[in-house]
């Protein structure tokens, strides 16, 4: 009887020693929009913006005075469009992304991710000369740039 009780104790220790064993290591879960900046006169060449400011409508800046040719922007999953403002220090262009957000289950630890379908882009053209593509069927990963901006 004593031995059985002892064994029981051992089993209880083993059972209670279990703890959370899986962590979400997938990064990112929900894809961001990847934008790359190219030279308008030579469309094959990356051309960084020397003084880039980016903010969404009614929000603080997400990028402030950075020199880069590639940015990643989160999309608002609670709405069907996100409006960003791109400034090169002197002029401001609005850049609108319209989409249908969809939830997709990933795993126990990562939960649900958002994918964005039927994506379309539109923009003012003060300093942004052009961009491509104008539509995308889906944004479900960020392995490659989603949109190229020529300036």
């Amino acid at each position: 009887m004593k031995k059985i009780m002892l064994l029981l104790g051992v089993f209880l220790v083993i059972i209670t020693s279990c703890e959370k064993d899986d962590y979400c290591i997938k990064n990112p879960v929900t894809p961001h929009l990847i934008v790359r900046f190219y030279d308008d006169s030579n469309k094959e060449t990356l051309k960084g913006v020397d003084e880039l400011y980016v903010w969404a409508a009614e929000k603080d800046s997400i990028f402030s005075n950075v020199k880069t040719d590639s940015i990643s922007l989160p999309l608002n999953s609670n709405a069907t469009k996100t409006v960003y403002y791109f400034s090169n220090g002197t002029t401001v262009d609005s850049f609108t992304i319209s989409y249908t957000p969809k939830e997709e289950f990933v795993s126990r630890s990562c939960g649900f991710k958002m994918t964005f379908e039927e994506v379309s882009f539109s923009s003012d053209s003060f300093w942004i000369k052009n961009f491509t593509p104008t539509t995308l069927t889906t944004i479900d990963s960020q392995n490659a740039a989603h949109v190229q901006i020529y300036h």
Partner: protein, 238 residues
């Protein structure tokens, strides 16, 4: 690290105890067999009982509720047919989801007693196999999409979404101990390792917990624990 240490120590402890136990018994058998040629008869019959670990866990854990009836029938000296039926309800809290599984299950199989009893004692160290089947509902109570940004935080969705009539089939290997504490009254402790054979998942979600199976790990495996009190209704002695 400390948990790991606790874990290893307790495993060492387990083997230490088992070894001490068996050696003790063997010595006594060898002394006795020289002088005694009487064949000791033991009871055969139907053994019924409950798993008391589940109601106890329900008391201490507000996210769990369960009840299980167990039974076995002795077919030969070492072979027992075994059955377990039960009900379980568990709420799984994860970082991004909160879901509840609720339903009934049945496990059918057998135990083989590997322990050689002394005289007319009726204790067991057993190994066994079970086939398990569970019929349950899973409700996604709430979730928040994992958007990995604070710039546009996601809203928590609080509309519960229930999927009915989910099923799970699995196999499990059982290892345990059983001791007769009073006449025909047994206490048993056992653990099991479960391997999922088939499962119906909800659409665009996953079954995170199946009644009778417990938490479903990424690899489709699981662990179980039973602490049962049973009473043997003897039919015959042989």
């Amino acid at each position: 690290m400390q948990l790991m240490f606790k874990y290893i120590t307790s495993i060492c402890f387990l083997f230490f105890v088992v070894k001490g136990y068996t050696q003790n018994q063997q010595k006594e058998i060898s002394i006795d067999s020289k002088t005694d040629s009487v064949v000791y008869k033991t009871n055969y019959g139907l053994r019924l009982g409950v798993d008391i670990s589940k109601p106890i866990m329900s008391q201490f854990n507000s996210t769990y509720g369960g009840f299980e009836l167990v039974g076995d029938y002795r077919l030969s000296k070492t072979f027992y047919a075994a059955i377990e039926v039960g009900f379980e309800e568990e709420t799984t809290l994860e970082d991004f989801t909160n879901s509840t599984s609720k339903g009934n299950y049945i496990r059918l199989g057998f135990n083989v007693n590997a322990y050689k009893n002394w005289l007319d004692m009726n204790n067991e160290i057993f190994v066994g196999y079970r086939y398990g089947f569970s019929l349950f509902d899973q409700t996604l109570n709430s979730y928040v999409p994992n958007v990995n940004t604070t710039y546009f935080p996601a809203n928590t969705i609080l509309t519960p979404l229930t999927t009915n009539d989910l099923t799970a089939h699995w196999s499990e290997l059982v290892f345990g101990f059983r001791a007769e504490t009073f006449k025909n009254f047994f206490i048993s402790v056992s653990g099991s390792y479960k391997i999922l054979m088939n499962i119906k998942d909800p659409e665009n979600f996953k079954t995170l917990y199946a009644p009778g199976f417990n938490r479903i790990f990424e690899s489709g495996t699981g662990f179980g624990f039973n602490y049962t009190l049973t009473y043997l209704i003897p039919f015959q002695k042989k």
